[in-house]
Symmetry: C2
């Protein structure tokens, strides 16, 4: 029985950049589970209809569909208890705040930096979808939102400060070893790395050093996806 993961793809179907899909990819790798990833585009809602919703990641395990990166992590720990992503219910609960903060605070701040380049590498049908949905969310055009990137860079650096300070006292968000919390944060940096040629982190930054450790994990799984500058 093989696992399948619907995974957001750029116009080039080999390029996978979704931060939430990378959470799921690394969670699967953490557990040592093989997975076949299926390139998917925003407009292909019918292909994942059995998941009960219209976004990826969507995991298919036999007859079971699981959507949402956090729910996928919980499903994997319940179904495949070896190499847990969470040591217990309190560790899971504590990680939830981090997960939510990343999705609601860190991701929008990163997106502002990368949205122009990200838009340009989407498939044509997805460009239309992305423009419609994101311009409603931004309250302005992609181009206007993107123009504000330079001015918003100091705010992004300030936003990342609690990540930085945490990594000054422990090597991973999970402590001595990476946990799902690490993958939840890493997704946003992988998104930026694959979609954009900008580097948001200076090389001495503790976040950059931690990012390197996650890029190298699992035989360099995340690093094997080429950065934008190498595509």
């Amino acid at each position: 029985m093989s696992l399948k993961l619907y995974d957001l793809a750029a116009a080039n179907p080999a390029i996978r950049f979704s931060p939430h899909c990378w959470r799921a990819r690394l969670a699967l790798a953490h557990k040592g589970l093989d997975v076949e990833t299926l390139p998917w585009r925003f407009v292909e809602k019918e292909r994942i209809a059995p998941s009960g919703q219209g976004l990826v990641p969507a995991l298919v395990d036999g007859d079971t569909w699981v959507a949402d990166s956090g729910k996928i992590a919980d499903y994997l720990d319940q179904t495949y208890p070896d190499r847990p992503l969470f040591e217990g219910p309190q560790a899971r609960a504590h990680a939830r705040f981090l997960e939510i903060w990343v999705s609601r605070v860190l991701h929008p701040a990163i997106l502002r930096q990368i949205v122009g380049e990200l838009f340009s590498f989407l498939d044509e049908g997805d460009q239309t979808y992305f423009r419609e949905t994101r311009e409603k969310r931004f309250g302005m055009s992609i181009e206007a939102f993107s123009e504000g990137a330079e001015a918003a860079l100091p705010a992004l650096q300030a936003t990342m400060d609690p990540l930085r300070v945490t990594l000054e006292s422990q090597p991973y968000f999970g402590g001595e070893q990476p946990s799902y919390a690490d993958y939840a944060v890493f997704g946003g940096f992988q998104w930026a790395r694959v979609a954009s040629s900008k580097d948001l982190l200076e090389s001495g930054d503790p976040i950059a050093q931690w990012r390197d450790r996650i890029l190298d994990a699992f035989d360099g799984l995340a690093r094997s996806m080429p950065a934008r500058a190498e595509q």
Copy 2:
């Protein structure tokens, strides 16, 4: 052997408002440990010199001094393993990001709302100390910083959003039961409640409902400290 906790006090020594001291008070209560709290003022550095630094909370357990709320939590779990504040090292590591985010992001945003009233109820010597240290940090006078409070209120509400969303999916930051993560967040709200007559939360807010649960915990320990309007 009784535990003692040096605890920041207002001009009225019965009024204790420090967010970091409340973390320690609740951590001690969580573990069912009795503690004698000693009122302390910012200027009384010599009284806590054996702690190796000049800030409270400082816990004294026999010959052992422990400063810093997070280190006090760790010390309590190591020394008194019953009723753990953390289920294990990963839960502790996950809570660290939350602790750091609260101290670096939530606290400054709350302080802007309450600083005028807070300043006014400090002891005279502490007013001088507070003005000197905080005006350096703010880059402006307490009065100027305080004047910006009204305009900064929407930003505080947005800052609190990840707390709110987390509490929509679980009753406590620790999950089904409160953990040290809850006390780390609660300290900031208790600070606001004791120092200021403003209420930062509307009654239907999930954060307000959670705050009520912590105020009621341990036989109403936190609620027994009068709110500013009742002092």
